[in-house]
Amino acid sequence: MHRFANPARFLRLGAAIMPWSTGVAVLSLAAGLYFALFASPADYQQGESVRIMYVHVPAAWMALFIYTSLAATSAIALVWKHPLADLAAKAMAPVGAAFTALCLVTGSLWGQPMWGTWWVWDARLTSVLVLFFLYLGHIALNNAFDDPTRGARAAAVLAIVGVVNVPIIKFSVDWWNTLHQPASITRLAAPAIDPAMLRPLLLMAIGFTAYFVSILLLRIRTEILARKLRTLRYMQGAEAPAPAVAGERI
């Protein structure tokens, strides 16, 4: 791991991985969407709206997976102080927030025809909503400081506090729900999923993961280049006392 904490080495590795992950993302998303929208049966109960699930469920997986990665990256950033880990955490938080939002929106679109309402204070919905707020807090804190390193460190602490709290929130919300609202809705209660439905689901999950890898590498590279540019501009400013730097926000 420490080997790839070197930005130059990381950029080389990233450049090698990216075409592959992008290719896998495009192929499996295309195949997944084809199977999800055309080549899979409609559910006997949910009808055609079951197709929303092929986006919804992988998005929910990604939302949790990215938060776990975010916390792990933050721990690495705090313990070994790799600047690259800070960049990675900063790069993955908005992607995770986007997947969480996608999960909430598709869930809501599915809920309207199925449950007859856009939103229910169901335990699962509520805990995903809280996860979305945790992401937003992380992003906001990361951008709230004039010094980007300070923002990254503060956000890392928050991500770790969040990961301690996420199971607590999850369980408390579960119990809260069962206390107030007797089980009226059980989601995806089907005991086994048909292979024809499992295929698009897995393809979409693979596609989402590959897309996440690509977009993460791209975002980290952009951030590294942006920092290089900033450093160059400072060095220029130090050589010639030009006023160009004065208005620059750090």
Binding site: L78, L136, G137, A154, G162, N165, S172, W175
Partner: protein, 221 residues
Amino acid sequence: MTAFTAVIARDLRLAWRAPADSATVIAFFVLAVVLFPFGVGPEPQILARIAVGIIWVTALLACLLSLERLFQLEAEDGSLELIVLSPAPLELLVFGKCVAHWLTTGLPLIAVSPLLALLLNLHVDGYAALLLALALGTPTLSLIGAIGAGLTLGTRRGGALLPLLVLPLYIPVLIFGVAAVEAAVAGLPTRPHLLLLGGLLALGLPLAPIATASALRQATA
């Protein structure tokens, strides 16, 4: 240990000499609760049904209101750096700040809450549970809030950022705090909910000062 008591004594003395700060928080708590009957109508049954929720949510917000100045004064006059540099463990000093914050915010909130419960027509059986739940829950609010206050120190828009960070983490306290009182009103045992609130406090007591101390070290680095 002397440093620990010194921090508490200092904050209490400051609060005593400028009582307006704590009074504002309590005034906010009372006023915000009093707004609800205007919003939802004065029917006693409706108010009784939502009394616990109103009191808990407003207590959360009042606590949030007071958090911003938890480390703000120290950061401005530079004493925060001395606190961080002091030979006493920073975690202990932070814990002292939390204790002082609870004594100046949480304790007054608890003291006023029976009066507000009376105004909102809370069922008689709920009073003891409300007081116990608040007594167990508000220290956790101070502890979690201190993390947020430490993290937002020196931000460009700390006041707006703090609720976004802290409120999602407050949800468990709110859930069990309300559940305890509702169980008491319904004649069910309150013990499980109070034990869970105690469990949250037991988790927060050692962990929150560590996170806050780490946030303060970054803020002064």
